[in-house]
Symmetry: C2
Subunit: 279 residues, 2 copies
Amino acid sequence: MKFSLDCYPCAVRHALWAVRRAGMNEEMQQRALRWVLQGLVDMDAGDGSHSIMIQTHAIIREMTGIEDIYCQEKTQATQEALSLYNQLKDMISQSSDPFETAVRLSIAGNIIDFGALDGYDLNASIERVLQQPFALNDLEDLRAAVERAREILYLADNAGETVFDRLLIETIQKKVVYAIKEAPILNDATREDALAAGLGEVAQIISCGACSPGTLLEYCSPEFRKRFDNAELIISKGMGNYEALSDVRAPIFFLLQVKCDLVAGNLGVPKESIVVTGN
Amino acid sequence: MKFSLDCYPCAVRHALWAVRRAGMNEEMQQRALRWVLQGLVDMDAGDGSHSIMIQTHAIIREMTGIEDIYCQEKTQATQEALSLYNQLKDMISQSSDPFETAVRLSIAGNIIDFGALDGYDLNASIERVLQQPFALNDLEDLRAAVERAREILYLADNAGETVFDRLLIETIQKKVVYAIKEAPILNDATREDALAAGLGEVAQIISCGACSPGTLLEYCSPEFRKRFDNAELIISKGMGNYEALSDVRAPIFFLLQVKCDLVAGNLGVPKESIVVTGN
């Protein structure tokens, strides 16, 4: 997806949040923000919406030497989600439609997002998403595709959300390959984050080879590309993956909460919608 | 007040809002935003918090030839406030403390602000501010100063808010000189906006000579400066005037709603506070 005017304020808001998290002093924060702003000035009209996030985090890494500024937030998010695991597991097994409940919960977990949001309320998200009508509803197509598939490629989004993905994977009882990021970017799940959420017990964890927010195929490893190209069914979580893959032809379903104007406009739904949509 | 890191996202958010209001095409919007961003990159650490707003609106004026992009919003805000005038007038006259009620209503009207906010709910603001404790409360000092004063210099803030100022001026029954902006900037009140709100009947309307957001003395006319320097008592409305005058020695009371982190930090109160504070 292409960078739009709506990305400007969001990018600057996020950059300020990130430089403050990175423990820079005021003068370094100012310098980092100026670099981010210069990057925004220099962007080409055709650049992708991810470019500025990648650039922002490269600047912060370069200035601080810290590889993973979201480490603490990711650990906390995973722990919070794990503390709810038993209760959510019961909720799914007692539901009249465990598949739909598990899909909804996996979307509820998508509120854990430090890219589009400055903070979130996980319990409020669960309560809301269990009731909220889908703005785009390909749930039955997804159900049929899951039933047909022998193996599913599942594209992870954020740490903590991983626990909700695990619940969905446990519910669908198919062979799942769970693709995470090669290295930290934002609060996207890495192998460590997936393992901490217990994904190692229910799926084969692979790296997509990239450390971009969203599975941008041009940054992915050849091994992952091959797997992606040959996948029977792909479940893609979150806005970042939608931004990266919405124009790609593939047997893919996007599960997400719509947290920004750019994605809302592209999907043709209001902000704060929940969506299950096939490509 | 000096520009802070918190001003960056706010400036970009506001600039996007403003270029969209100005009826530019997408390519012009992009160009205008890049100029604003370049202005942010080039700012000096010591620049005032108003600089970027002045720059943004100069860019929009230059690119569109439109002098007053908030014309429609200002007219609507004034009409909405006037539609409440009789009801609020009764509320004040029936109050056990008409002065406090009128002060609170004038602060409630300060929600009308297209600089710090993208939108507002005037009725919700009235309801809230009538009940909300003051985070800084120099109300009794203000009451005594008003009782002593023969003439009050009242620094206007935004169009529509003017109607609430009129109610306060009618309540205090002193000679009031009401200072507005020389030319349009943001939704700050000009002479036309003050007249449309009925201020001509209750106060002497003068221009401060400047068209900066907030009464920045360095931009004001010598006549206004003289009046300011000799004022017995100054009532200053809104954040813009606070940002401009908080460090100036003068017999001044600031009445405002705190709508941004920079001002909240400077006053030492939470965002969304209401404040009556002497200098």
